[in-house]
């Protein structure tokens, strides 16, 4: 315990030097940071006594003395950059939390403002003030507080009202292990203007090495009628720690589909908090976590129906092999005024080994009386008879297993509309049957 307290102090003293270096930033940003470090100092790292962290022990993160990645840690990346499209598309690449301009492509797509957070703060901080730190407001989350305290670089994606951005916007965070364990606190702000439409992909990758810690926060403000597809593809190295919060605030009639694909990391925790703030908003949360070895993949969702006539659909699937552990903790809150709420939450898990574990906690908290809410959770194994059925048709055992796993994940992967991402996931699931990518050409 004392070690953890020391680590808390370490972040605090690092904050002082960070704050001095960023003294030129606008006062409101410095206030945001100052409040956040005070909050973090008060809460500290969570223990198993915290309800939200009961299944995930963060001691492996808390006990490492991470050094905040600096300019000299953000040189050229050795990691092959993931591609989401063969066609040109806007892209920002960050290495250890810092924008790598030479790897980024910010063309003049009409209706899109895409820039690094540092640049945006220097150029037009006032435009960010109504949003930055205003969507991710969970005061109890220590890692969100830590990210805000060290808020420095990241991506700002602003889609003009009415704009339809055809090409997917890709934001890549590469974690390159250095000579010391490094931590970065990337921040993403997405403001989807009213009636706009866009696709934003966040990809987290990294090379194995000394433990690296990515502590990310994404804020999404969707204004009235905005349509946004948001993907988070987490494929960090199995030595990496990854904690992320995606906070979403939805205006009237907005429609957000969030895909959370958690494949990498030694310990990876993602919180997705959606506030359905105005009537008629619709939220789809589509999640897949695939663990092996000794990975721990933890996913928390919170959908807050704060307004009437909103719809939410959650489908999370977990596939766990080896000694890996998975967590799904999902909560739907229906506020007293949120009549005609339509909420469905489903979590299904597949355990591929005897030693894999999953913890599934779906929860509904309903305070309105005219609502339609369902939730369900299952944990199962591969059906031996299904395996035999496939083998009895000539399919090799390993391929038959992969095919069943692929089939299990198919309703989640089927919703992924970017072929490169979908095929990447299918390949990751071990589907090496000839023509796997061609499954669709037969459909």
């Amino acid at each position: 315990m004392s070690a953890v307290v020391e680590e808390r102090d370490l972040y605090r003293s690092d904050f002082e030097s960070f704050e001095r270096a960023r003294a030129g930033d606008p006062a409101w940003v410095r206030t945001l940071r100052g409040d956040a470090i005070d909050r973090f100092a008060a809460i500290g790292f969570p223990s198993h006594r915290d309800e939200a962290w009961r299944s995930t022990n963060v001691a492996p993160i808390a006990r490492v003395s991470f050094r905040r990645a600096a300019e000299e840690d953000s040189g050229a990346s050795a990691t092959a950059l993931p591609r989401i499209s063969g066609a040109p598309h806007p892209q920002l690449v960050f290495v250890n939390g810092r924008l790598a301009t030479e790897l980024s492509t910010v063309d003049g797509t009409s209706g899109l403002q895409l820039s690094g957070l540092r640049t945006a703060l220097a150029r037009d901080a006032a435009a960010l003030e109504p949003h930055l730190g205003r969507v991710a407001t969970d005061a109890a989350h220590p890692f969100t507080a830590l990210n805000t305290a060290f808020l420095d670089d990241g991506a700002v994606v602003r889609i003009a009202p009415g704009a339809v951005i055809e090409a997917p916007i890709h934001v890549v965070f590469v974690s390159e292990p250095g000579g010391d364990p490094l931590v970065s606190h990337p921040r993403v702000l997405i403001v989807a203007g009213s009636g706009s439409q866009a696709v934003v992909v966040e990809t987290y990758v990294g090379a194995p090495g000394l433990p690296a810690f990515t502590n990310a926060v994404t804020e999404i403000a969707a204004q009235a009628g905005a349509i946004l597809d948001h993907y988070k593809v987490q494929r960090e190295a199995d030595t990496a720690f990854h904690v992320a919060t995606i906070a979403v605030s939805q205006g009237r009639g907005s429609n957000i589909t969030q895909h959370n694909l958690a494949l990498g990391g030694a310990l990876a925790r993602t919180d997705i908090n959606v506030l359905l703030a105005a009537e008629g908003a619709e939220s789809v949360l589509n999640g897949l976590f695939v663990g092996s070895g000794t990975q721990l993949l933890d996913n928390h969702t919170l959908v807050d129906h704060a307004s009437p006539h909103c719809t939410s659909r959650q489908l999370y699937k977990g596939i766990l092999d080896g000694k890996s552990r998975g967590v799904f903790h999902g909560k739907v809150i229906v506020r007293p005024d949120a009549q005609k709420t339509d909420a469905v939450q489903t979590n299904r898990n597949l355990l591929l080994s005897r030693e894999a574990l999953v913890s599934s906690t779906p929860a509904l908290e309903i305070r309105a009386d005219d609502v339609k809410c369902r939730h369900g959770s299952t944990i199962g194994q591969l059906d031996p008879l299904a395996l035999f059925y496939l083998r009895s048709r000539g399919i090799a055992e390993a391929d038959a297993r992969a095919l069943l796993v692929y089939g299990f994940a198919a309703d989640v992967t089927g919703r992924i509309r970017i072929p490169a991402i979908r095929e990447g996931i299918e390949a990751f699931l071990g589907l090496r049957l000839p023509g796997a990518a061609g499954a669709r050409e037969l459909a």
């Binding site: 008879l385 496939l390 009895s392 000539g394 692929y406 299990f408 994940a409 309703d411 037969l442």
Partner: protein, 266 residues
């Protein structure tokens, strides 16, 4: 392919158990190329066990005896190798595979088999053509070809899907496990017509059934009666009619305790 001069299947003194229960107690059976053999018997006689043992179902343990397929040791082969060598089992209860389309599954199965046999693998277009042709054979709706394997299929659709798969995979030895169960007469006619269309001098079939009804449509060359894990009677198709008339009780070694009316002895 070698072994064509050997019988298609030679089952010798086959003993098998499932979960520690001895089910097959010395089955002997020889099937030559082009022959259709029916295996009949009461519930629990081991008919389905025999079918599954031949296909290599894990957990169905052979405790004694041997099975030669075209002269090769069938029991030493993994289920997928048996399939590639030409054994096909039409399941009594076809399994649903959510999320995997019928056509995708079958294309991979067909190409695994073709590769094993040294044939050119089929591309997507060729395979779609093949499925169109074979689906007509059992009147299988094209929509079902693209849907997830057996998911949401009716009982009859599942059975037709089994024969459709058999038509695609072109086995040398097809084992039909109670393909008639649960089928109304129209569905039975369609399935039987599909099976009959696949009869050929190179292909053998083992038709496992509880009822004689199916054998009106798929007429066997030989019939074997399995009771308590042993073949107790063999004959031609006329034996089926006798069974229909007299039931199985007269063939059982220890008939069940006499019911109200004493057993008739002719």
């Amino acid at each position: 392919m070698n072994g064509n001069d050997k019988p298609m299947l030679q089952v010798r003194n086959l003993h098998a158990s499932v979960a520690g229960n001895q089910i097959l107690r010395g089955v002997n059976l020889t099937v030559n190329a082009g022959e259709v053999h029916a295996i009949m018997g009461p519930n629990g006689s081991g008919k389905s066990t025999l079918a599954h043992v031949l296909a290599g179902r894990p957990g169905y343990d052979v405790t004694q005896g041997e099975v030669l397929f075209r002269g090769q040791n069938l029991l030493a082969m993994a289920p997928e190798i048996r399939a590639r060598e030409g054994v096909f089992l039409a399941f009594q209860y076809p399994v649903e595979i959510p999320g995997v389309s019928n056509i995708y599954f079958l294309k991979n199965a067909a190409n695994a088999i073709r590769k094993h046999r040294g044939q050119q693998e089929l591309d997507a277009m060729e395979f779609i053509q093949l499925t169109k042709e074979k689906a007509r054979l059992v009147d299988l709706d094209e929509d079902l070809v693209r849907r997830p394997v057996n998911e949401g299929f009716s009982g009859g659709e599942k059975k037709r899907n089994e024969i459709f798969q058999m038509a695609i995979l072109e086995p040398a030895l097809a084992i039909l496990d109670e393909t008639d169960s649960g089928l109304d007469i129209d569905a039975l006619r369609i399935v039987a017509a599909g099976v009959n269309a696949l009869r050929s001098p190179e292909r053998s079939m083992i038709v496992v059934t509880h009822y004689q009804r199916l054998l009106n449509y798929i007429v066997p060359d030989f019939l074997h009666v399995l009771v308590e894990g042993e073949i107790v009677r063999e004959g031609g198709k006329e034996l089926a009619l006798e069974l229909e008339e007299r039931g199985y009780a007269w063939l059982e070694k220890e008939p069940p305790a006499p019911a109200v009316e004493p057993a008739r002895v002719s």
